[in-house]
Amino acid sequence: MAKASRPNNGRASRVYAWHRYLGLAAAILIIIVAVSGVFLNHTERLALDRHTVSQGWLLARYGMVPERPPISFDVDGTWVSWLEGFLYVNGRKSGRMPRPLVGAARAGDLLAAASPDALLLVTAEATPVERLSQAALPGAVAAVGRGPGGALAIRTDRGVFASDADVVAWTPFAGAVVWSRPMPLPAAIEERLMLGYRGEGVPWARVLLDVHSGRILGRWGPYLMDAAAVCLLLLAATGIYNWLKTRR
């Protein structure tokens, strides 16, 4: 059989040219789809669903890098932290706290952690006990501390108040208060906190799926991959056409 050669008639020549241009235009995307597809076919064997991403830039792509570091307070050796809307105790997620932490202190056997519009009482094991909303607080909280005898104190826009032993009622307080201050979180606790923040993490299988589908590129990524798929179809069609036209 004679070797297929480039056609020299009008239409066939144009189809040949389109075949070449489509191939060039879609080459990179088709390579990405093909390679990611091969890996996805062997997800279990390669344990891609068990190994998780650790690269910061990739985690950031999935929204798993916080915009700012945790805000933490050392309460007699127990670390109370806040990160993106949640309270953590020694790195373990506790309750919801939409606004940033302004202070934390011990309240009897419990821990008191406050944002401007709420005060959470939690146990040392991070179990939520009560959420004191605005109705239960004497003003917007700016600081949390302890007065003489260990009384829980808060500084609000209406003054300084101390609570009773059960943190039920607040009375104006004029004594000395040691106010809590934010401090850097120990590395081990921060690591545990970040694990809780990220959950299971992102498996490599998920990343490959997103690469394969184009979702990794954002909202328009899938449409780009759709275009590559259409190019591949056209390549097949033009390739078959060229082969039929040029074979002898």
Binding site: G95, R96, T127, P128, V129, E130, R131, L132, S133, Q134, A135, A136, D166, V168, A169
Partner: protein, 175 residues
């Protein structure tokens, strides 16, 4: 030219960033309590949510109550509660007043979501006036829903049931 301007206007709505939804505060909790008790708010009390009470509340809400205790205010046979329950994704802060085993008032104090806010209107919340629990823990009436606000309606209905249950527990000496 007008077509181009119209197209730009339409596209600007399509690509405009979503509104950062702020909390809608319909009534401050302190004001709600003052109204509930005729201006003189009693000292708060706490009720520990344990044992059978905890199980019953979990049965009503469909999940465990988010704390070990709840604060309430009581004067005579009237109690007031400020409870929160998630509608779709964010909590709805709700004030409830119970007296003589019947719900006197249910008021949405703070609403945080972009949909379903119709539940804060009197035409909806008035349905709860006089409601009580029957057959264990169900309301003695059906509450008409609002199209597009089903999750918020369900959340408020469950809070009404919870407040009535808590009041019953307090009246029975469990407070």
């Amino acid at each position: 030219m007008r077509f181009v301007l119209a197209l730009v206007a339409v596209l600007s709505f399509a690509v405009a960033p979503p509104r950062a939804w702020a909390d809608d505060v319909y009534q401050e909790p302190e004001t709600f309590l003052a109204e509930a008790f005729g201006g003189t708010v009693p000292a708060p009390k706490v009720l520990w949510i344990t044992g059978e009470l905890r199980d019953k509340i979990a049965s009503i809400l469909g999940h465990a109550y988010g704390g070990l205790r709840v604060r309430y205010w009581q004067k005579g046979v009237r109690t007031a509660w400020i409870l929160e329950e998630i509608g779709k994704v964010k909590p709805i802060t709700t004030g409830l007043v119970v007296e003589g085993d019947r719900l006197l008032q249910l008021k949405v104090l703070i609403y945080r979501e972009s949909h379903g806010w119709e539940v804060r209107h009197d035409f909806f919340t008035d349905q709860f006036k006089g409601a009580t629990l029957e057959n264990g823990m169900r309301l003695d009436r059906s509450i008409d829903g609002i199209s597009g606000a089903t999750l918020s309606v369900n959340a408020l209905t469950n809070l009404a049931r919870t407040a009535l249950l808590l009041h019953r527990h307090v009246e029975a000496g469990g407070g």
